[in-house]
């Protein structure tokens, strides 16, 4: 090739690479390596910038939401009703149970006039809307469990709760399925359960699998006593397979849906699933 010939003419004494002196080789390899190293070190900065300038989805960069969605899909694969939260003897339970958060519990509230609204909007038989009283929940088989309650903040506490299984409540009242009958197939279940406080100030969404977990309770007792106000009297959710944020206190309304219910902390930058 012509150009190459010309170059060789201009530099007739250019030695072959393996004829470079040791010093020259050291120099060349060092410069080349550090140039590459410098260029490559820009990549993390690029990634950082790219993440920072992304549009936020519920407080988090879009890519993060995508990956967290993937994490949820993976977690759902090994989510099993056979995987139970370890239980403890009642004497291990904390006498002074930690209170954390009072969102949705502000303002006047009279437990005497409280009732639980249950809803699922659908066509046909499955369209249900009714209210229950605490006696109705107490009429379901009572379960007591001592589990380690885990807060998203990182602390945990062994606590003693009593109430009815969410799964028993669903079966008894024929809710949660599209057919309006006890589920014949896994696909008959609505995908989500939403719960809200009576004033709508706090709200959570749960995947149906976690809601139907045998340790998920509609709890009305703590340490063998009726729930106190700060712990969510008269009825609260106790779902050990989720962080505390999903354990909604003072349930006002329960609804079944295929759309992800809004979720208080998800709107504030947390993962939706938060499954343990």
């Amino acid at each position: 090739m012509e150009t190459q010939d010309n170059q060789n003419e201009q530099m007739p004494n250019l030695p072959e690479r393996d004829e470079l002196t040791t010093e020259q080789q050291i120099r060349r390899r060092t410069i080349k390596a550090f140039a590459l190293f410098g260029a490559a070190s820009l990549v993390p900065f690029g990634v950082w910038k790219w993440i920072q300038q992304q549009p936020k989805v519920n407080g988090l960069p879009k890519t993060f939401r995508t990956v967290l969605g993937g994490n949820e899909a993976i977690a759902s694969l090994f989510l099993s009703h056979n995987h139970l939260a370890p239980t403890f003897p009642p004497e291990d339970a904390a006498k002074k149970v930690r209170v954390n958060g009072s969102d949705g519990m502000k303002g006047d509230f009279d437990p005497a006039t409280w009732s639980l609204k249950v809803e699922q909007t659908a066509s046909g038989e499955a369209n249900r809307r009714f209210t229950l009283l605490l006696e109705d929940i107490k009429a379901l088989p009572k379960v007591e469990q001592v589990i380690e309650f885990k807060c998203v903040e990182g602390w945990s506490q062994i606590q003693h709760w009593g109430g009815a299984r969410f799964a028993d409540f669903v079966a008894k009242y024929g809710v949660g399925t599209r057919s309006g009958h006890p589920a014949q197939s896994a696909g008959d279940w609505y995908q989500y359960v939403g719960l809200e406080t009576p004033n709508g100030g706090y709200y959570v969404g749960l995947d149906i699998e976690s809601a139907l977990h045998p340790q998920t309770l509609l709890a009305y007792e703590m340490n063998g006593q009726p729930l106190t106000g700060p712990h969510g009297a008269p009825l609260r959710l106790l779902i050990p397979v989720k962080y505390g944020v999903k354990n909604l206190k003072r349930i006002g309304r329960i609804f079944f849906t295929d759309q992800r219910p809004r979720d208080f902390w998800h709107e504030r930058g947390y993962d939706y699933f938060v499954g343990l």
């Binding site: 050291i26 190293f37 070190s41 885990k150 990182g154």
Partner: protein
Amino acid sequence: MKRIIDNKHPLAIRWFHWVNFPLLGIMIWSGLLIYWAYHPYKIQVGDWVLVKFFPDWLFIALKLRRRLAEGMAWHFVFMWLFMLNGLFYVGYTWLSGEWRYLIPDRHSFREAWDVVLHDLGIRKIAPLQTKYNAAQKIAYSGVILMGLGSLLTGLAIYKPIQFAWVTWLFGGYTSARVIHFALTMGYLLFFVVHILQVIRAGWNNFRSMVAGFDVIDYGNTGQSERTDA
């Protein structure tokens, strides 16, 4: 005096090493954002608090407060990359045979002590070594075990019910969280010693981790000299 170029670190190992640097950095930083939300750990003798993890001024100075959601998101996104890079590194060292330079043998612990004495200026002669000295073998193999420990204790506190047996293995949920945190402090300690040793070992050694080669000078005695970190 004769100078010889000696190829020391394969390209793959250099990549894994340097990719790990920002990844571990992000894991530690996001881990601290999470830790702030519940930061009870301290070392104390009786009533006397020796070290507090961490004093308030540190959380403030590093802007670690009230960023739990952000910390969790970063942590649970980058955990995958941190894990993959670690697995690739282990897979590579295993398949390439590089592990032979890295795994300590039955002499390593005694020799490592001699290395420590030598590095502190107490002992005059350092033990003979190949690519890594005995103290390095222990440190570099140990930090991989720590990485494995971080992955497992991480899983133990991330999914303590689905993987209850892993959580049990580490003595329960609160204990797994303590170990996960302690391992992180271990990385910071490793980092400090590592940086000091790299500075001590000098340019030739640092260059070998970037460019891959070492330059060995053969002096009049015919003895080679090599420093490592």
